[in-house]
């Protein structure tokens, strides 16, 4: 009886998960073994099973490798940057000497809750090669203007900057929670032992934050592996595919050209990449706990 009651309580959530997550995921997996395309949209009898044909094509698709390279670059550069910035911000708003900490916390969290499209419009102004604030500052420092979003060398870094700014507030809150969970007596003990500020940070704060680091690292990496909205809104993947991400490629194939079979294959591969990244992080976590 009790068991049925429990099932009854979770049934709505399970049902939603089944319909909106599991079912589409399985559908996408099946779709990735077909050549569903614009011809199939017109006439379902034009669907063929191609087994691993889409995956084989993917391996030989330069754009896929470009997208994967861009995405991994993004994870490798924007990820640590985001963690560093959010940790620094968390330390600042946690510092007892700072007054009005709640206000700072709110301000720093604001970008997280702002819609990306609105933010992107403003950042496009900041990045404007001639009138943008960024280039005017560079100009004042005697540095030649940079075509931030138009130059293949700079477009992805420019998006990384935007993404870090947009997202660090969330990680900051997680770090803040981690910082406040560190018992005060550890700092007192360190002070008694004659530890300075830096040593306190190095030998008390950092080790105590280890689980937080892992959580933030996993979440940030997964988030950046799914990079989509920034390039979609700001650069459409250009110039010269320099900001093409894996999800953007999936979207283009699937919904711009309606090669749903191929798009689904991209999605499945991305799923595997994220799964692998998460497993590695999990393994690291186990080791650090042990």
């Amino acid at each position: 009886m009790k068991r049925w009651a429990g099932l009854g309580f979770v049934a709505p959530a399970l049902g939603l998960l089944l319909v909106f997550f599991l079912l589409p995921t399985v559908a996408a997996l099946l779709l990735s073994f077909t050549d569903f395309d614009v011809y199939t949209v017109a006439d379902p009898s034009r669907l063929r099973l191609v087994a691993f044909g889409n995956y084989e094509r993917l391996l030989h698709d330069d754009r896929f490798w470009t997208a994967l390279r861009n995405t991994l670059w993004f994870v490798a550069v924007a990820g640590p940057l985001s963690v560093a910035v959010s940790l620094a911000a968390a330390l600042l708003v946690d510092a007892k000497v700072v007054r009005g900490r709640a206000i700072f916390r709110t301000i720093l969290f604001l970008p997280v809750v702002t819609t990306l499209v609105a933010v992107a419009v403003v950042w496009r102004y900041l990045y404007h090669p001639r009138y943008g604030v960024l280039n005017q500052l560079l100009g004042a420092a005697g540095i030649a203007p940079i075509d931030w979003l138009g130059d293949p060398k700079w477009a992805l870094p420019a998006l990384a900057l935007l993404a870090v700014w947009k997202g660090f507030g969330f990680n900051m809150l997680v770090f803040l929670a981690g910082l406040q969970g560190i018992p005060e007596r550890l700092y007192e003990a360190a002070a008694l032992d004659g530890a300075g500020r830096w040593q306190e940070f190095r030998h008390v704060t950092m080790p105590q934050l280890a689980p937080t680091f892992l959580f933030v690292g996993v979440i940030t990496a997964i988030g950046y592996l799914q990079l989509f909205a920034e390039p979609y809104v700001m650069t459409q993947g250009g110039p010269a595919d320099s900001t093409l991400s894996v999800v953007l490629l999936m979207y283009e194939e699937g919904f711009r050209w309606w090669n749903l079979g191929y798009g689904a294959a991209v999605a499945v591969v991305l799923f595997l990449v994220i799964l692998a990244a998460s497993l590695v992080q999990l393994r690291l976590q186990r080791r650090s706990v042990a």
């Binding site: 319909v19 909106f20 997550f21 079912l23 589409p24 995921t25 559908a27 996408a28 779709l31 050549d35 614009v38 011809y39 949209v41 017109a42 379902p44 034009r46 063929r48 094509r57 330069d62 924007a78 985001s82 997280v112 990306l116 090669p129 075509d147 138009g150 130059d151 993404a163 947009k166 997202g167 507030g169 969330f170 990680n171 996993v218 979440i219 940030t220 997964i222 988030g223 799914q226 990079l227 989509f228 909205a229 920034e230 459409q236 110039p239 010269a240 999800v247 999936m250 979207y251 699937g254 919904f255 711009r256 050209w257 309606w258 749903l260 689904a264 999605a267 991305l270 799923f271 994220i274």
Partner: protein, 427 residues
């Protein structure tokens, strides 16, 4: 959205994609609703036209009391996906503006209404349009869309550095080399953007290449005509006449043109206004049709542009057709030109002094008699992407011209595999 990179929505992108799939599946099954017949006609217009066409609507509504038109603006960058998604969702408007290279794809879907019968009894006739402009809208002998404006490419050049517009390829190369000598030590002569397939395809068409063969079922890039065009194109870069490189060059085209670092560009009518606004008036420049590689000039150029599609499922097709007729009239074509700079597709509109008396526009008029359509198959856009890719490899020397054409054929054959299967052979 979740992919914005923060954890609170981790997994959001995949879930979202999965959700979209469900929605799509639902839509494919067919849950579209039809609109009531007394609602306004809906017109989807893209980009700049979307912004200005509302100003043309009142005249239409005045002429047809009782009809109202609702214009929805769509940015070009999202137009193609919006169109296909709305088709699948059964939510198409009554009239849509489309890039004319999309017509074959829409025909495969069965989205447009065939227009031959309507044209036979209409105030606009099929002979009103330049044949080359109408052609991309004709698939398998049937007219599926009506040309709205033309976007073909011609030569923009510095008339002080190139005194006589070249009529042949030989004269072209000579003129470019001459212009380069005058331009200074860092000068090149012609800007050809590596990311664009159009200039190379224009040259290939000038050589008589058909690009594909056997009912467009196989690539035909190893054909001597295409190979010669690619070799010519690559040589422009190798000899330094075309700058290799900096993607930044695209941003500086007006500056470089004014400074004489480049003296020619192959581009379209959208740049008439841009050049007039951004190149200092002290710089002399003009336009000329594409030089010919063989036969009488001009050489062919691409029949680009936008068309108007009457959606097959529109419940008010007769009223929707009146809107298309209205927008096709010479007077409205000239109005569109005034509002946007778009070049009219209707031949009679070109008698208007605004077009006829402007020498820079007149060069486009000569080009309109020599237009070619790209292969009329849904796969074309993807094949064109491959042309860009392998042409760049040949230019950068990572591939020989012959390797590039071989690779192009292989890529095109791969993309066209489904087409061959659908046609059951291809003869």
């Amino acid at each position: 959205m979740g992919a914005a990179g923060v954890g609170h929505a981790g997994g959001g992108g995949l879930i979202r994609a999965a959700l979209l799939l469900v929605v799509v599946a639902w839509a494919v099954v067919g849950c579209g609703e039809r609109r009531a017949a007394d609602e306004p006609l809906t017109l989807w217009a893209m980009g700049r036209e979307g912004e200005v066409v509302e100003q043309m609507v009142p005249a239409f509504e005045a002429r047809h009391p009782g009809l109202r038109v609702k214009v929805q603006r769509i940015p070009w960058s999202a137009a193609h996906e919006k169109l296909l998604t709305s088709f699948v969702g059964g939510a198409m408007p009554d009239v849509v503006q489309v890039g004319n290279t999309w017509v074959p794809e829409l025909v495969v879907l069965g989205a447009p209404a065939a227009l031959d019968e309507r044209l036979a009894t209409s105030s606009v006739k099929r002979d009103d349009w330049f044949p080359g402009v109408l052609d991309p809208n004709v698939v398998d002998g049937t007219i599926w869309a009506v040309p709205w404006y033309v976007d073909t490419r011609i030569l923009f050049y510095r008339s002080d550095l190139i005194p006589v517009a070249p009529a042949t390829w030989d004269a072209w190369v000579t003129a470019l080399a001459e212009a380069r000598r005058h331009g200074g030590p860092d000068a090149h002569a012609i800007l050809l953007q590596l990311g664009e397939w159009q200039p190379l395809v224009i040259m290939a068409m000038g050589r008589g290449a058909t690009l594909l063969r056997q009912h467009d079922c196989y690539g035909d890039f190893r054909n001597p005509a295409f190979r010669a065009a690619l070799a010519f194109y690559v040589e422009l870069f190798r000899s330094g006449l075309a700058p290799l490189g900096g993607a930044a060059s695209a941003a500086n085209v007006y500056q470089d043109f004014a400074g004489g670092e480049i003296s020619a560009v192959v581009t379209g009518p959208w740049n008439l206004g841009e050049f007039a606004a951004r190149v200092p008036s002290s710089v002399q420049w003009s336009t000329a049709p594409i030089p010919a590689s063989q036969g009488a000039p001009p050489g062919p150029s691409l029949a680009g542009g936008a068309s108007l599609v009457l959606v097959r499922t529109s419940p008010r097709a007769d009223d929707a057709w009146k809107l298309i007729e209205f927008l096709s009239e010479p007077a409205q074509q000239i109005r569109l030109h005034e509002l946007t700079g778009d070049l009219p597709a209707h031949t009679a509109a070109w008698n208007d002094p605004k077009l006829a008396d402007d020498p820079r526009v007149a060069a486009f008029r000569s080009q309109l008699d020599a237009l070619r359509a790209t292969p009329k198959i849904p796969e074309w856009e993807r094949i064109a992407g491959k042309i860009t890719q392998f042409a760049e490899a040949a230019i950068r020397g990572t591939m020989s011209v012959d390797d590039a054409t071989t690779a192009l054929d292989a890529a095109a054959d791969g993309i066209l595999e489904k087409r061959r299967w659908l046609l059951g052979g291809c003869g």
